[in-house]
């Protein structure tokens, strides 16, 4: 196996790693989405629960948004690595690439 193939193979493996990570974080995001709580869930006694409930809601929304971002980014990193491998194969060498082009979805 020549030097170029060693590199493109490892780039494709690395890309596959990110696609797997994307799937894994997608499953976690689905689990996190289910963690909503009604205002009545905050206290069994006599207390104002509205602010607690709103604070939780904000945090929950934020976490789900963050995890959704991870799903997208991981997938795009995986695709970018595969694009790089394809470019190297096409040029038959490790060429200098326009990074703005490569790291763009």
């Amino acid at each position: 196996m020549d030097a170029l193939n060693v590199i493109t193979d490892s780039l494709r493996d690395e890309g596959g790693k990110w696609l797997t990570l994307s799937d894994q974080v997608a499953a976690i995001k689905v689990a996190a989405e289910q963690l909503h709580l009604d205002p009545s869930a905050f206290f069994i006694g006599d207390a104002n629960v509205l602010i607690h409930s709103l604070a939780y809601k904000d945090f929950h929304t934020f976490m789900v948004a963050i995890l959704s971002g991870a799903v997208t980014e991981f997938e795009q990193v995986g695709e970018a690595l595969r694009r790089i491998a394809d470019e190297y194969d096409r040029a038959d060498e490790v060429i200098s690439l326009d990074l703005n082009e490569i790291f763009k979805a």
Partner: protein, 249 residues
């Protein structure tokens, strides 16, 4: 507070307290009615003054009982929803924090040991991006841990409240049962009921104060809202409150 991996640690004492509350409150009402029946039974022997005295004592006992009943009803309505909060606090750990933390090292560990042979601009750019992605993963772990701890604090206040309410109910049953058994003769009845009214009143007042303190702890968890705002607003690893973009678009 070190939570276990299951919610038994909180769920079990919580539900057990409710079992005590449910059975206790039924007994309390039964005992109270028993005492009222005893009064009815001896009414003809008791003079108007004694009857008035008894009526006054019974009324204040009933008032105390009703105060506790209100708390019990409110608590019963929230038992299941609060149980869901306990579940959710553990799920933040088990379903989010732990699985996300398992992804952390994978972000920067190469899938293929030959990857370091890849050098140059593109390789450095990729490595820098991978490091930022790892930081964001680790930050998500910190945030899931934070929210679960926040919910645990609230869960703990709820468990303590239920346990204290169960104690009040149990104490109430004890006092009522004592009065019912001591007041079986017409001689002892007025005295037993008067003692009952006094001790029940003191006990309920003390118990409500404890409930108030626990309620304050729940309200104090609001102070952590500032922590929450800090968590959501800390953008050092999640720029703009979003996942760091490794790839534009």
């Amino acid at each position: 507070m070190q939570p276990g991996t299951t919610d038994l640690e909180y769920g079990e004492p919580f539900n057990k307290a409710f079992d005590h509350i449910r059975s206790g409150i039924d007994t309390a009402i039964a005992k109270f009615n028993e005492i009222v029946e005893q009064v009815q039974q001896w009414k003809w022997l008791l003079g108007p003054a004694a009857l008035l005295w008894i009526k006054h004592s019974l009324d204040s006992t009933k008032t105390a009982l009703n105060v506790v009943l209100d708390r019990v009803e409110q608590a019963l309505e929230h038992q299941l929803p609060v149980l869901s909060l306990i579940h959710v606090s553990f799920r933040w750990v088990n379903d989010v924090k732990t699985p996300v933390s398992e992804l952390s090292s994978a972000t920067t560990d190469p899938a293929n040991e030959n990857l370091p042979k890849w050098t140059g601009d593109a390789a450095s750019a990729y490595n820098a991006k991978a490091v930022k992605q790892k930081a964001a993963v680790d930050e998500s772990v910190v945030k899931s841990e934070f929210i679960s701890q926040w919910l645990f604090t609230i869960a703990k206040a709820n468990v303590d409240y239920a346990v204290e309410l169960a104690k009040i109910v149990t104490g109430l049953v004890g006092k009522l049962a004592q009065a019912a058994s001591e007041g079986v003769t017409v001689i002892d009845l007025p005295w037993a009921i008067s003692t009952l009214a006094e001790s029940v009143g003191d006990m309920v007042t003390a118990g409500l104060n404890v409930l108030l303190t626990i309620g304050q702890r729940f309200v104090d968890a609001l102070g952590n809202i500032r922590d929450i705002a800090t968590q959501v607003g800390d953008h050092s690893k999640l720029p703009g409150g979003r996942w760091p973009e490794a790839v534009r678009g």
